[in-house]
Every structure is written in C-alpha cells, then in structure tokens.
Symmetry: C2
Subunit: 614 residues, 2 copies
Amino acid sequence: MKLRRRLSEIFFPDDPLHAFKDDQTWFRKLVLVLQFLFPVFKWAPNYSLKLLKSDVVSGLTIASLAIPQGISYAKLANLPPIIGLYSSFVPPLIYSVLGSSRHLAVGPVSIASLVMGTMLSDTVSCTNDPILYLKLAFTATFFAGLFQASLGFLRLGFMIDFLSKATLVGFMAGAAVIVSLQQLKGLLGIVHFTTKMQLVPVLSSVYHHKHEWSWQTIVMGVGFLVLLLTTRKISMRKPKLFWISAAAPLASVVLSTVLVLCLKSKVLDIKTIGHLPKGLNPPSSNMLYFHGPHLALAIKTGIITGILSLTEGIAVGRTFASLKNYQVDGNKEMMAIGLMNMAGSCSSCYVTTGSFSRSAVNYNAGAQTVVSNIIMASAVLITLSFLMPLFYYTPNLILAAIIITAVIGLIDYQAAYKLWKVDKLDFLACLCSFLGVLFISVPIGLAIAVGVSVFKIMLHVTRPNTGVLGNIPGTKIYRNVSRYREAVRVPNFIIITIEAPLYFANSTYLQERILRWIREEEEWLASNKRESIKCVILDMTAVTAIDTSGLDTISELRKTLERRSLKLVLANPVASVMEKLQRSKILESFGLEGLYLTVGEAVDDISSSWKARP
Amino acid sequence: MKLRRRLSEIFFPDDPLHAFKDDQTWFRKLVLVLQFLFPVFKWAPNYSLKLLKSDVVSGLTIASLAIPQGISYAKLANLPPIIGLYSSFVPPLIYSVLGSSRHLAVGPVSIASLVMGTMLSDTVSCTNDPILYLKLAFTATFFAGLFQASLGFLRLGFMIDFLSKATLVGFMAGAAVIVSLQQLKGLLGIVHFTTKMQLVPVLSSVYHHKHEWSWQTIVMGVGFLVLLLTTRKISMRKPKLFWISAAAPLASVVLSTVLVLCLKSKVLDIKTIGHLPKGLNPPSSNMLYFHGPHLALAIKTGIITGILSLTEGIAVGRTFASLKNYQVDGNKEMMAIGLMNMAGSCSSCYVTTGSFSRSAVNYNAGAQTVVSNIIMASAVLITLSFLMPLFYYTPNLILAAIIITAVIGLIDYQAAYKLWKVDKLDFLACLCSFLGVLFISVPIGLAIAVGVSVFKIMLHVTRPNTGVLGNIPGTKIYRNVSRYREAVRVPNFIIITIEAPLYFANSTYLQERILRWIREEEEWLASNKRESIKCVILDMTAVTAIDTSGLDTISELRKTLERRSLKLVLANPVASVMEKLQRSKILESFGLEGLYLTVGEAVDDISSSWKARP
C-alpha cells in the first residue's frame, strides 16, 4: 500500500485520470476517454468562426516562415531540401489531432537537424551514398519517435528534466555558433567544405578555400543577412511588428530568386537549389533500415535527436501554456510528438517538433487552437503541389542567411550573465557544454552538459550543509549562529543541524563533520575556560530521508559520543525518517529521553533534568 | 571568500591542518609536519616494551594466517603463488611508516585478487603468456596505487562513498559465491577448467569435466574444508577462541603437506604447488608496461581493483578505529595505501590493502600499533628466505579450502535481510549487484551497483516529498496533515511544504505537483461548499538549496497563481536560498508581504490584514 502510493507519486505525479469519478455515466466516461486520448475532442465542439479567423491568419503567417525554414533546415541535416517541406506537411496534421498545446507550431527545428546531420555524416557520406543516408535519416526519425512515445507511455518524462536550463543555454549557444560558421559555406560560395562540426576544422576550411570565395555570392548573401537581421531586431524591439520578421524570410526568398533569374545571364557562379520534385510526400516505410551495420548509429542518432527535439517541444509547449494559463501534460505531449515522428518516418519526413521561433510567431499572430497548424499544412500542400518549380533559381545563400538569422537567437548571453551572477556552478555547467559543443562534438558536448548537471546534484548530496544552532533570545526559535548574529549558543549543549537527507553518499562525511563541530566547540570552550559540552542535539528537521548507511551512522555516532560520555539527542525527525529509525530498532537504543519534537523542548527538558539531579 | 569557504568544505571537511596554530615555534611546527606526513612519529616516542609484547603475539598470529592466504589469493588472481608471499612482505613495511590505522593487517585480499584475475584473464591467458600476464598485473598494481594516492592527494576520497553499504553487501556475496564455485577446480581436482567467472560457465565446466574428478582429492579437500569451517564456526561463537581459526589454515597446510608427503608413493594424482623460488622480492620496475596494446586494460584493471581495495582498506581502518575510539584520516590513508601499492608494483607485489579477516584477527590478538605488521613481515621474510622448499608438496586443494573458508564470511545474509526489512530500495540495489556479479561479470556487476545507488539518489531528488500542512490546535506548530492526525487545515489558506532542494531536476515536477495540491484542495472545498483558498504559503524550511531553474519555478508559480488571483507567500527560506532569491531579484516581485520567518507568522499576519479590509 505504501509502496503503491510511492510508485504513483513517482510515475503519476499529475494524477492524469483525475477527471474520472465513480459516479459518472458510461457515456460521460467514453467522452472523457476520447478527450483524454485525442485532445481535439476537447476544443472541437466549441470551435467557432471567430476562432477560425485568428487561426487562418496565424496559420498563413507561420507557413510563410515554415516553407523557407523547412528547406533550410533540411539542408542543415544534409538532406534534400524537399524533405524539409514534406516534414512541414504530415507532422503538423497528426499533431493537431493528438497534441494538447494550442500554440505549438510543428515542423523541423535547427538543433535536431544539426545533430542528425553531424551524427550521420560522421559515418555515411550524404554525397557518395545519398540513398543510404536518407534511409538512416528516416530510421533515426522512427527511433526518435519510438523513444519519445515510450518515454511518454512509460511516464518517464522526468528524464528530460536532467537537461537543466543552464546546460541548455550553453549547448544551444555552442550549436548556434557552429551552425552559423557552417553557413559560411553558403554565404561565401565555397564548394569543397569540411563535413566536420568542430570550431577548428570549420574555420580552417573557410580559410583554406579562399580561392573558392565568390564575390557575387558574398555581396548578395551579406546583403540579405543584414536585411533579415534588421527585421529580426525590429520585431524584437516592438513585438507588435512580429509580422515583419515573420514575412521577411519568404520575401527574401522571392526577392533573391527574382534577382538570380534576372541576372543569370551575367553572373553564373551563384549556386541555386535546382530542381525539386512536385507532389506530396511519397511513402517511405520501405526505406526503414532495421538490420545492417549502421543500425546502431541510427538508433543512437534517433535517441539523441529524440531527446533534444522533445526538450524543445515540451519547453515551448509549457511556455505558451503558462502564458495563456492552461496546462500541458508532459507525458501525453511526449506521446503525441513521438507518434507524429513515427508516422513522419513512414511518409518521408525527418525529426520534427514544436519550433520555438515559429511558435512565438504563431502566438503573436493570435493563434487560438492547433487549427493554425492545419492551415499551415494546407499552405505547404499547395506549395508542394504547384509551386515547386519556382524554387529552381532560389540561391543557396538565402538559405544560409535564413539559418543564421534563426539560430542567432539561440545565443542567450543575457541568460548566461544571469547564471554567472546567481549561481557560479550553474554557469560552469553552461560554459562546459558550450565549449564541449564548440571544440569536441555535439553529442559529447551534450554528455558533458548532463554530466556536469548530475555532478552538481551529487556534490550537494555528498557535501551537505551543517551548522551549529543558537537560541534567539526571548523565543523558542533556534537558528544557525553563523547566519543569524542574534542567535546565542546554549551552555552545555551543542545543537547541530543537518540540511540534507542522510545517505550512503554523505554518511561518512556527516559523521566526521559532526565530530569536527564538537571538537572545535570543545577546543574553543577549553581555551576560554568555559564549561564543556554535556549534550549533543541533532536537529533533524531538514533530514528528509534516510537509508541504511545513514541509520548506521546515527547509531555509530551515538556509541562514539557515549564513550566520550556525551549524550546524543535527536530533535524533530520527519515521519519517514522516524519510521525507519523504529524499524531498524535504533530508536530503542536511544530510549525515551533521546527523542524530542522540537529543539526547544529538548533543551528545556534536559537542562531541567540536570538541575533535578546535579 | 564565500567560494573559498565552500571549496574548503568540499575538499577539506576534516580540516586536516587543525593542529597547526599561529603561535607555535618552528620546531613544534616541524614535528607536527613530520607527524602529519609519517604517523609513525606520533606513536614511536611513546612505544614501550609492553606494547611490543602484544604486537609480537598478534604479528605472529596474523603471519600464520597471511602465509597460506597470500599463496591462495595469488592463485585466485592467476598469479604464481610466490607473488602472494612477496605481497605480504614489502607493503606491510611501507604501511607501518605511512599508515594511520593501528589495527590494519596489510596484504593481498580476496576481492581485489578475484577482480584482477578475471579482468586480465579475459584478454591475456596466464598459461600461454605468463610473462605478459605478470607484467600487466604489476602495471595494474602501479596504476591502482597511483589512482589511490591521487584520490587521497586531491582529497577526492568521497568518491568511494558512492559504493553504498547495500550494494557492497550484494557485490561481496556474489563475488564470494563465484570464488567458492571456482575453487571446485582445486577441490575436485579438475585440470581443464573454464577461466570465465559467471555462474553458468563455471557450473557447466564442473559438470562437463566429471571424468577428471579425483576421489582422493575430493576426500582430502572436503575433509580439510569441514575442518576449517568448523574452526571458523567455533571462533565466531566464542571470540576469545579467535586463535583457533587463526592457526587452522597454517596447521592444515602443514598437515596436508605431511599427508601428501607420506602418501605420495600410493596416491599420485593430487596436484601440489611444486617448486617455489627461495629469496626475497626481486625488483620489478623493469616489468612495468607503459605502452603497447594492453595499456588500457592495465589502467582499467588498476582503477577498478584500486577502488575496491581502497573501499575495503578504508572501511576496515574506520571500523577498528571507531572500536578503539581514534580517528583515521580517509584521505591520508588513501595516500598511504596508494604509495604502498606503487612501491609494491616495483618489488614484485600485486594489489594489497587492509584485509578484513586478518585485521579482525590482529585486533582480537591484542595488536596495539602497526608494529604487528612489521613482525608479520619479518615472519614472511624468514619464510621466503628459508622455508620455501617445504611448500613443494603442499596440495592445491588446501588452498581452495582456505579461500572458500575466507570468502564464505563475505556472504552476509543477515545484512541483506535487514536491508529488506528497513529499506526496499536498498535491498533492490543489493540484489542487482549480487545478480550482476553472478550472471554478467564482476566489473559490470559493480557498475550496476553504483548505477542503482546513484539512481536512488536521483529518484529522491527528482521526486521529492511534498505535503499540506495543518495547524496543531493550541500551538503555533504546523505539521503534515497526512502524518499528524491532530493537525487541522487553516481556512482560506493552503500551506504546502517542499522537502528537498529545488533543482532543475525537480523544478518542473514540483511546479506541477504544487498546482495539483491546489487543484485538489479547491475541488474538495467546492464539493463541500466551503470557502475557497485565497492564499498559498510555501514552507521552505527543508528547501536546503536552490538553483536557477528553481528560481524560475518560484517566479513562474507566483505569476500563474496571480492570474488566478491567489496570493503566494514564502515562509522560512534558509539563508543560502534567501541570498539567491535576492540576487535574482525575485524577492522584489514578492514585495514586503511575500516573505515570513515562520508559517505561523504568515498565517496570523495575512488573516489579520484580511479582517482589516474585508
């Protein structure tokens, strides 16, 4: 029974079935089940023309952003540009049925594209063996979806919480720098470029291919980049003008395509996208790759891109949900994103999730429900069916400029500065993941980031705070003497507080530290010729849990102090600790006089007992 | 300044230099430095003839145990038996100068021997390439020593605390089972035996080599095993008779050797140790192997055996130190053990540490100082110089019997039962490491054990306890309503306590869980037609730390509740949390009325302000 409650706290903290009550009719229950599985049933009955109007506006706005970004991000993942458009069509439709966020704009995102591109290119060349590369990309997408859906289904959503915000800030900034530098290929018109993703090879590649630089490309590329960055700046200054930056990418694509078309007889060395096939997503379930030498790579890539895209999707969903004051269920959302990716992998899509930049535009454009995703998908449908030949003359440089503009926002130096100011260790985690991504590799940078975060927790657990308490005169309140100047020590007592659960990882430390507190106090008392200590009180208020090593520590400490004829008393152990003390029979050795509800009670009772028999 | 204090708490919790004061003369300081570096200077000046007498008795007692065990453990590590004797000579001498424990009996131990044997045999065969195997063993010993000494020097001793007692119980029991089964080779007289260490191959090897079983070996082996186990039982029942089990191994060796010698003309198929070279440890620094294909294996083996032997040595030292009420400095002890192993690797010794069984005998035999180690080493010296030919006819079966008797004590089923009763998760960790060692492999079993321990900490951190507090009538004390029946909820308030640091790993969970507490309370109040909640008080007493994600959570929670026109108030944040709240400027958004010293104060103040302006 107790175990069951504990398990339900671990796996069902949000009590997902709380809407179900015993006194409901079976029809009501059926409706609830449907609403639970398909959130679309929750809002569809109340959908109105007014809502539709806002959704159409916002849907078209994000479509104008999604089409150029889709093409660009696919190139970032070393995939054919058309895959980016396919991925902006099927997944949004699936999400609109399963997803519970109203503002998420679904599609390919930069970080996941980058990581997939890096990890697959390390082993398989996308130019020498494009079919295998494509197969691996779809397979990785399938495993990413499977992993995401299982995390949600097994209610292990808390796994993504291990990517702390601090490490994500560093990771994203590092990835953004790398991606931006990689785009120099497009902006400078370099043909032979490294496929590596570290800072050093990318910069040396830029430098060593100076002779390939094309001045026409540079002029045009830098021009559009400045234009895009300016519109971004304007929209950031005045959020009401969000549409300027939202419309800028599509406008730039059109403008640059027209420019190239007009100038093509004169300038020949600007590279363009070229032919894109017309038509909707072809099925790709036959492309999934379930045995062979690269399966491990596909699974690994899938899991890492899965975690990253999940982190982004959930974070975006939660952000906008809290702005509009509704709840997003993390585990259900994971299942939605996972199923969407699994379906995507069978219809020529690669990893997709909720994009932060497009969701922000969606929100600002007044989106009310996921219908905006359907509108966006319809716009992509029209593009795929009729407009593909128009992209023939779109120059690659504009894609590079769009990517740089999109990722530059990921460098959040203000957040890093705030980390530095508030918490030095968090800043260290941030810096480690930034440098790890920049100089080693994306997956290792991520591993370092997680490692530092976990190490930080461990450090707190292994080296918890302890302190000596003193009485605040005139009250029964006891506070740490090193923090509250008015607190005074009680003669004959030393009251030690432990501010952490007592675990195997800190039990040795705590035992030694407590003995050191006592030794230091005794030395001080002796040198000042005061009465020595007779009783040690352990304030257990903040000891929120204890394990068997901790129990041993308490019992050993009592024996050690007894040999030095000091009395050990526990004050205010919490209920779960109390229970374990009882079950391990340590409490018996303490006797009735070894346990008090509060520190004040212990001090009063023990000192009066001394007076009674001096 | 604050960072410095924090770092000194992390790395120097025991304040190792506390004996040094500013007002000492330089001579006194020199003495203290010497005493600090070489504990021998601490006790040598007060050494007396009486102490020497006890030390001689205990030293000879452990020597009689160390010689047969040394030979047996070397065989366990697939090393020539003589290495075991070498390892019982040099390391005890070095430890007696550097070590700070008075009762540690130094020499080879079963677990480290087993692990070294397993890990090296996986790659290099000790029969086909004995020289390389020996080289790798010495190199692994060198790295074990280097690793141990650096842990001590860098004051990272807390790393070994991550092997919790629960996992060690399981690990040791698993290893003991495997080792005992392996000894069936010697006890049954099997010649062709598997070198694998898992349960299944060992048992199948025993079964498939039935035709090699030798009845003479079995009769003699089982006879001596029963004898040894009986003496062990007697000594365990009556600790005063410790000398029976201490003398039994040497007596059995002598007896069995004489038996084989007498019967050698009649029974020929009992395998004996054979020729052992006479003389002291040859230098082996030329055998160290610092480049080549197996270096990584040597380093890995060194680190794992280093950790294991360190864990045993430190634990043994601490146990007897606490029995005799003196302190053992973990980090200095690590340096001593590390230097001893590094020196050992250059003088034909393999990994040594303080052995639990021999230290217990040493303690019971009345050892007073490390001089007993010197006496033991002298006894080994005499053996090495003159008595080696006597071992020619010692049968292998007696070594097997000695090993089984030694390791059977590692199976601590009572401890396992206690774990089951007190803490189910600790028992799970224990079981995992037991089964991991038994069915997979020793290093993986160890990895599983550490993994489970760390996961347990993580689980506690990611899913901390929360609860609703109520007032205990007639007092100002607030306690969890689900644990204290007398606690009653205060109308219009919900007081929520968080029993853990607020970290990135639990901030999302806590936010959702707090909102759920509020939702459930509101639903209950609504269905019972009571007044609804107006104010949420967070009791922060047990929130011992906060990071940037935690700060964001608090601030988001405040905004969310504000939108639902609920007031959020913090009660009793500890000083370090308070400071971070201030630095991140979240406190300003709470204003003066958002923070109280105690829950009681918050309730009184806020409810009186409501009465003032209704």
